[in-house]
């Protein structure tokens, strides 16, 4: 299954948004959804920071697909290109088709640690438990979401909206997020330790190193670390 690479999971969700206007307002559901997503940027941090194991994720609204009107590469684009005689009808017929979507879609794409069992359900349950209010806020105008009332129904709903990933490329790693964050913390701290303890006599170096290890506790994922979504140092 290409949704999975190692312990990492690529969740792709397209949730159709209802057509129509928010009651009493001159704003379409899809536009209201987008506006709420922008609201999230005004918060101290994204609600998704509370969802365990999320590496990176995004939300956007797919308004429509794009009709291709740019010039293409030079190789024959379709079978009419081989013909020595092209009528206007054929020429028109060989132009890129004008596709239009019938619905607008809320797109949610998440990269997360799912473990060896590709535990999508666990992730979605945790997501619901952590941010169900926020979930209602953005998914509330989507078709079928009215049947969502619990972690289980949310997971079932998302899976109905899920698309299978064709190729998932993991360029960083698939470690659990707390391990990634702990590692980043250690990297930063060790770089500083190495610089400030350069050239010390062996005994002093050893003493400082032991103090350093006690302080940073490399094993302890609950010890000092970076917090999810941390964007500055204190």
């Amino acid at each position: 299954m290409a949704n999975v690479s190692g312990n990492a999971y690529a969740l792709t969700v397209l949730s159709p948004i209802k057509e129509g206007l928010v009651a009493g307002k001159e704003i379409a559901y899809a536009d209201a959804v987008r506006d709420r997503l922008y609201d999230w940027n005004e918060l101290d941090n994204s609600p998704m920071a509370k969802v365990p194991q999320t590496y990176l994720c995004r939300y956007f609204v797919l308004d429509d697909v794009y009709v291709q009107s740019l010039p293409s590469g030079s190789y024959p684009d379709n079978r009419y290109d081989w013909s020595p005689y092209i009528t206007d009808g054929k020429r028109r017929g060989s132009l890129p088709a004008e596709d239009r979507l019938q619905s607008r879609y809320l797109v949610f794409s998440s990269n997360f640690h799912a473990g060896p069992n590709a535990d999508l359900d666990g992730y979605l349950h945790n997501m619901w438990d952590a941010i169900s209010d926020d979930i209602r806020e953005v998914w509330g105008y989507c078709y079928g979401f009215d049947r969502v009332s619990s972690a289980a129904t949310f997971a079932a709903y998302i899976k109905k909206c899920q698309l299978e990933t064709t190729l998932f490329f993991v360029g960083s790693n698939d470690d659990p997020l707390p391990e990634q964050l702990k590692a980043l913390f250690l990297k930063q701290e060790f770089a500083r330790f190495a610089a400030t303890n350069q050239g010390l006599p062996a005994a002093e170096l050893r003493k400082n190193y032991n103090e350093f290890i006690t302080r940073v506790a490399p094993e302890d994922l609950n010890g000092p670390s970076w917090s999810p979504g941390q964007y500055k140092f204190d």
Partner: protein, 542 residues
């Protein structure tokens, strides 16, 4: 090379670092255009005397090598003021039309390097119409061959070059005077003691009466300038200066990386303003005045030199990737090899010397044991070294391969070939007290490229002020990095060692700000044809 450029249509400073061609004395003059029509008359008059890139080694060319050179470039505001049509103006790149000052957050020109601390001529630039730097004229004086080979002979030759520069300046002032209703010279270039000049001088540094290629920190400079297709006098200089090919061979870079109207490394004409006669054979020039904190540098070097196992001279070399005498660390990683290299260099012909100094890659130094990843030279031009992945031995890097004889990238220099910059730099000012930062001395550097954003700004931001491409997180390039500009984030750099040795990597910590920006802007250097069209006021993209 079958491509031949139209050398008489290209301004001479684009293809030549004049210093290398016997012009050790430069003067830079900024002008404001007061009146469009008379401003264009001024351009017409200057154009008559602009130095082109013709080949001075041919019979005819020899006769045309001038006692002084003159070249001209325009800021976006200058082109606007001279009446270029809107349709052409909008096709210049956004960074060029914004100007260097507005790009300070991209360039890291903050803290002491912030525009409010620039020389008045640059600090005032853009504040009001009368202070806008519209035109930059660059003049260089020729040093004749010394009549006698002793110090006196050299001294006379040097004075002659200064005399030539004065002649050039007198000519310019005369033309300005004839058009003083059209243009005005902008003053406010800071001299050694804060005095203000109407021009910025830059001069080759002399040592014991002999000219050197050094800058104020004491390094040889300007060795590995790119070589492009179609320049007859660069044909023998491709190794180490062109682009690295599979198998360690070198080829000249595509002309379009540096000149509009020519195919670039992506097989297209670089985006440029229309009409084509306006842009063809022209390019962008980045002008920067960079102050060197010599006292800070010496104190910093000596402090770390005491602790660094290889000693001060080797550490100084590690900062740059070359020993101070120019010997590349990759070819001569220790003092013994440096001596041997220099002995061989002294025996070699001029052409052979050029090749020796530049013909190398990082193939045998992927881990940075010889030339560290944060060294100036490796950061400015990583050659093929970015095609790298971690090796089996902890702490090592190796070339990444797709197949047995095929690198992971399209070509080894894939990430470097489109980030090259032609550099034309000369030192300015003198250092009287090597323990102090005071005074005004550094480098005036002019960098030429067809895409400021992709070439100069990328190198400045991503490779000098950031280290991700070098697996160095936010660690900066040692010499030019904008270290600790906020007073809160002191920089450091790692001097790597052979991962299979017992050596210990050295961390250069608390790197101070060694080089500060004191001014500059982005300019367009038109072809001779474009100059004539601008002067006539007939640029028309219709």
């Amino acid at each position: 090379m079958n491509k031949k450029l139209e050398l008489a249509d290209i301004q001479g400073n684009v293809l030549r670092a004049y210093g290398r061609f016997g012009y050790p004395a430069a003067r830079y003059v900024c002008l404001n255009v007061k009146n469009e029509i008379r401003g264009r008359d001024f351009i017409a008059a200057v154009t008559e005397r602009v130095t082109t890139a013709i080949d001075w080694s041919t019979e005819d060319g020899k006769k045309l090598k001038p006692n002084w050179t003159a070249n001209i470039a325009f800021s976006y505001q200058g082109l606007r003021k001279l009446g270029l049509p809107r349709a052409s103006l909008v096709e210049f790149s956004p960074e060029f039309s914004q100007g260097m000052k507005a790009r300070k957050d991209i360039l890291g020109d903050q803290g002491p390097s912030a525009p409010e601390n620039w020389d008045p001529v640059w600090e005032r630039n853009g504040k009001d119409f009368e202070s806008n730097v519209h035109i930059l004229i660059t003049l260089n004086g020729l040093m004749p061959a010394p009549v006698t080979e002793d110090a006196n002979g050299m001294q006379e030759a040097r004075e002659a070059s200064l005399e030539h520069r004065e002649q050039a300046y007198e000519w310019l002032l005369e033309v300005v005077k004839e058009h003083d209703d059209g243009v005005a010279v902008l003053g406010g270039h800071c001299g050694a003691n804060g005095e203000k000049f109407d021009y910025q001088d830059a001069d080759v540094l002399f040592e014991d009466g002999m000219p050197t290629a050094k800058e104020h920190f004491g390094y040889h400079d300007g060795i590995s300038d790119p070589v492009i297709e179609g320049v007859p006098y660069d044909e023998g200089r491709v190794e180490g200066r062109g682009k690295l090919l599979e198998g360690g061979k070198w080829a000249p870079l595509a002309t379009g990386e540096f000149l509009f109207g020519h195919i670039d490394e992506a097989h297209e004409y670089p985006p440029a303003p229309r009409p084509i006669l306006l842009s063809r054979n022209g390019t962008y020039m980045v002008f920067r005045k960079l102050h060197e904190n010599v006292g800070t540098f010496n104190a910093f070097l000596s402090e770390h030199g005491k602790k660094y196992p290889g000693g001060e001279e080797l550490l100084a070399a590690k900062f740059v990737g070359r020993w101070k005498d120019g010997t590349p660390l990759v070819l001569a990683p220790n003092e013994e090899k440096r001596k041997a290299f220099q002995d061989k260099l002294k025996e070699a012909s001029l052409e052979e010397q050029e090749r020796m100094l530049s013909d190398f890659s990082y193939e045998d130094d992927m881990s940075g044991a010889k030339c560290p990843f944060s060294a100036h030279m490796r950061r400015i031009n990583p050659r093929g070294s970015l095609e790298q992945v971690a090796g089996e031995v902890p702490g090592s890097m190796i070339r990444s391969m797709k197949g047995e004889n095929e690198g992971a990238f399209d070509t080894p220099g894939a990430l470097a070939n489109r980030r090259r910059i032609m550099r034309r730099g000369l030192p300015y000012g003198t250092v009287s007290d090597r323990t102090s930062d005071k005074g005004n001395h550094g480098i005036v550097i002019m960098m030429l490229n067809a895409n400021i954003n992709r070439e100069f700004e990328f190198v400045q931001q991503q490779w000098i002020n950031y280290g991700n491409d070098f697996k160095a997180a936010n660690d900066k390039e040692i010499l030019l990095g904008n270290h600790n500009i906020d007073g809160k984030s002191p920089s450091k750099a790692v001097i790597q060692v052979d991962p299979e040795s017992d050596d210990v990597p050295y961390i250069v910590s608390d790197i101070p700000l060694l080089v500060e920006t004191r001014g500059g802007d982005y300019f367009f250097v038109p072809s001779m044809t474009a100059l004539r069209l601008i002067a006539r006021g007939v640029i028309d993209p219709t």
